[in-house]
Amino acid sequence: MKLQMIVGIVLAVVVVGVAAEVTIWSWRSWDIPVWPKVEAALKAAGYDITIKYEVFAPTEYDAKMALALRTGTGPDLVYARRLPDVRTSSMIDAGLYLPIDGLVDLSHFPETVLKYITYTDGRIYGVPFAVQVIGIFYNKRIYEQFGLKEPETWDELVANAEILKAHGIVPFFIPGKEGWTLAMQHAMCGVSVLGPEWICKLINGEVNFLDPRFTDLNRRLNELKVYYQDGFLANSVTDMNAAFAFEQAAMVFYGIWEYKQTWKKLNPELEVGYFMVPPLTRDQKPYAYVYMDGAITLTSNAKNVEAALKVLQFCATPEFGTIFASETWNIPAVLGASLPEDPLLQEILDVYHNHASPCVYWVGSVFVSQRPSLYDDVLSPGMQAMYAGKISPEDLSKMAQDAISQWYPPLMKKD
């Protein structure tokens, strides 16, 4: 018995000493092929580290991960949500997320991305991994077939839709059952149609949601619904991906993340184009809604901190960005990575570098940091209600103002 124990302990020490294992938890199933490559790259550099990457459903991930970390059974690294977000800030306050500035070289990241993982204490709590760009994706073949060009104003967009509808093509496929996509649609239109200057004024409290320009956007979106597919309020994102991939619809209001792993997988022949939502007039500049997806964070449960830091240091290099982009065709947050030679991806990258809106009101904005939030509690159900004809565009504005003025000081004054 005693001999067995000794042998067991020796084996354990040997195993631990010879190969360090780093576990990572995430909600992104798209990243599964990335980590074996990272492991190979680290091994090639002489670090004997095994990476175990585990994925959970996005709706269960936060609760599961928080519970595991609190009870000390969590992984070494986790994918953390961007700030501001109460899920992330509460983990930082509880000491479950550890700061890494000073331990990892973050010189390859732009300030605009790092601010999403910098806490109020000024420290940085993770290595950003991806940036998401949203906008209108369209079927190039259908556009060519009807001689359509990428619209430069809102009216041109509507005119394109009118031509498509006249020829029996579904102009826009909208997954109306999933309210979050409608909030996303509103947000991506807002950065161009309302413009960053207006949104910055909203954040400062110089204008509020009752401003006629906000109501005007609501109205324009409401008028656009004649160009959506029949019964759009009952369709999900899965339906949209299938319809767009199999060329049953011309345009979708969505993000780059489904491009390779869903649309191209379903239909490799699909030719996808992208344009930012056009502004109202030609003299305004279009903008794109760009946000940091999340960061890889060191946890207080890390068993082998040295190995975990090695992995993080690698994730902060352009080489990681190249691996990440080549597997997921998402835009890595780190600068200097080389992306696959795909024209759409290159276009998106250019948009990220040069046309990202500096002020936003959806994810990553102040308006979603408390409840009632502009995302979950106003735009998601509100857009559905407006599209269903239950509330008017003015009511939606009022809903937003009523909700946000309950807790956001700059918008709390009576108008």
Binding site: R82, V86, R87, A234, D376, S380, A385
Partner: protein, 305 residues
């Protein structure tokens, strides 16, 4: 009539009850009181809970969540009324029809119970495919028989979605109620039925005056169960329209409201387990009194016998 229990027997009775009592306390009583306590705190899931007194309840009943709370509550009531009508009402008539001695009637008993064997999440998933407005079989069937105008976006219409989900629930659960009511009907002594026929009762009078009154106790039990399950319903709505209870919260019930407040939706909204606990306290306060009332009522009836 209570039988006298010897002291020695008492010891053994206690010995057998204690393990179960321990498990019951650990997994049911303790979480119950723990939730009740948690509803007075605010807790985002990590770190220490902060005491907030009645703030969660104030937020739920008169504050920013009151509209959602009462919206969800009335949906639960609607759920209960409709499921009782269909599952107990139609279930009863199906049970009466199955209580005959027609050859091979047991095949129908099996058929009606099959949906009940399918896991509820799968039922939700299946039916959301059937109800897809473009390619779902429901709409395709309607278009094929010429009823194109009835081919609506079922789960996307705020006026129809909840009713549609309830109907799916009826489809899935009715088998259980049919079998229970069938057992109750078959328990009725045959001589009573024969006597009724001999007195010249028609089938309809037989049902109304003999069968229904004699199965009333079973109805009461099932009604209580249905009430508790209606106020706890969550899985079907989660599977068919998601936890955001679209469209526009028209399918929101207390269960989905709880999930959203405790664990958050898809957005970076506030996550507060204390608020979720307050919702569960509300559900508990609705369901518990009725259950107690029922037990008291049953005890009274038992002692009257």
């Amino acid at each position: 009539m209570k039988t006298k229990i010897k002291k020695k027997e008492k010891k053994y009775i206690l010995l057998f009850i204690i393990p179960t009592l321990i498990l019951y306390t650990l997994f049911i009583i303790y979480p119950l009181f723990s939730s009740l306590a948690l509803s007075f705190y605010s807790w985002p899931g990590a770190g220490k809970p902060t005491f907030v007194g009645l703030r969660n309840f104030r937020m739920l009943f008169v504050g920013p969540f009151s509209k959602e709370l009462f919206n969800a509550f009335f949906h639960n009531v609607y759920f209960f009324i409709l499921t009782s009508l269909f599952e107990l009402g139609i279930g009863f008539f199906i049970a009466v029809m199955l209580a005959t001695k027609i050859k091979r009637i047991s095949i129908f008993k099996t058929i009606i119970y099959i949906p009940n064997m399918i896991p509820i999440i799968l039922v939700g998933f299946m039916w959301s495919l059937f109800l897809n407005p473009q390619i779902g079989f429901v709409n395709q069937l309607l278009r094929a028989i010429g009823l194109k105008n009835l081919a609506k976006p079922w789960l996307g219409d705020p006026n129809l979605a909840l009713t549609v989900i309830i109907l799916v629930n009826v489809w899935r659960s009715i088998g259980f109620y049919v079998l229970v009511l069938l057992a109750a009907i078959q328990n009725i002594p045959l001589d009573l039925i024969e006597a009724a026929y001999m007195d010249g009762a028609s089938n309809w009078q037989l049902i109304r005056k003999v069968i229904f009154p004699l199965t009333l106790p079973t109805f009461r039990t099932l009604l209580i169960l249905l009430f508790i399950w209606s106020f706890n319903t969550f899985e079907l709505i989660y599977a068919m329209v998601g936890v955001q209870a679209g469209p526009f919260r028209s399918t929101d019930v207390l269960g989905t409201l709880f999930y959203r407040t405790a664990f958050g939706g898809l957005g970076s909204a506030v996550v507060d387990m204390g608020l979720g606990a307050a919702v569960t306290v509300f559900i508990f306060c609705i369901v518990m009194p009725l259950s107690i009332l029922y037990v008291v009522y049953k005890e009274k009836r038992e002692s009257e016998r």
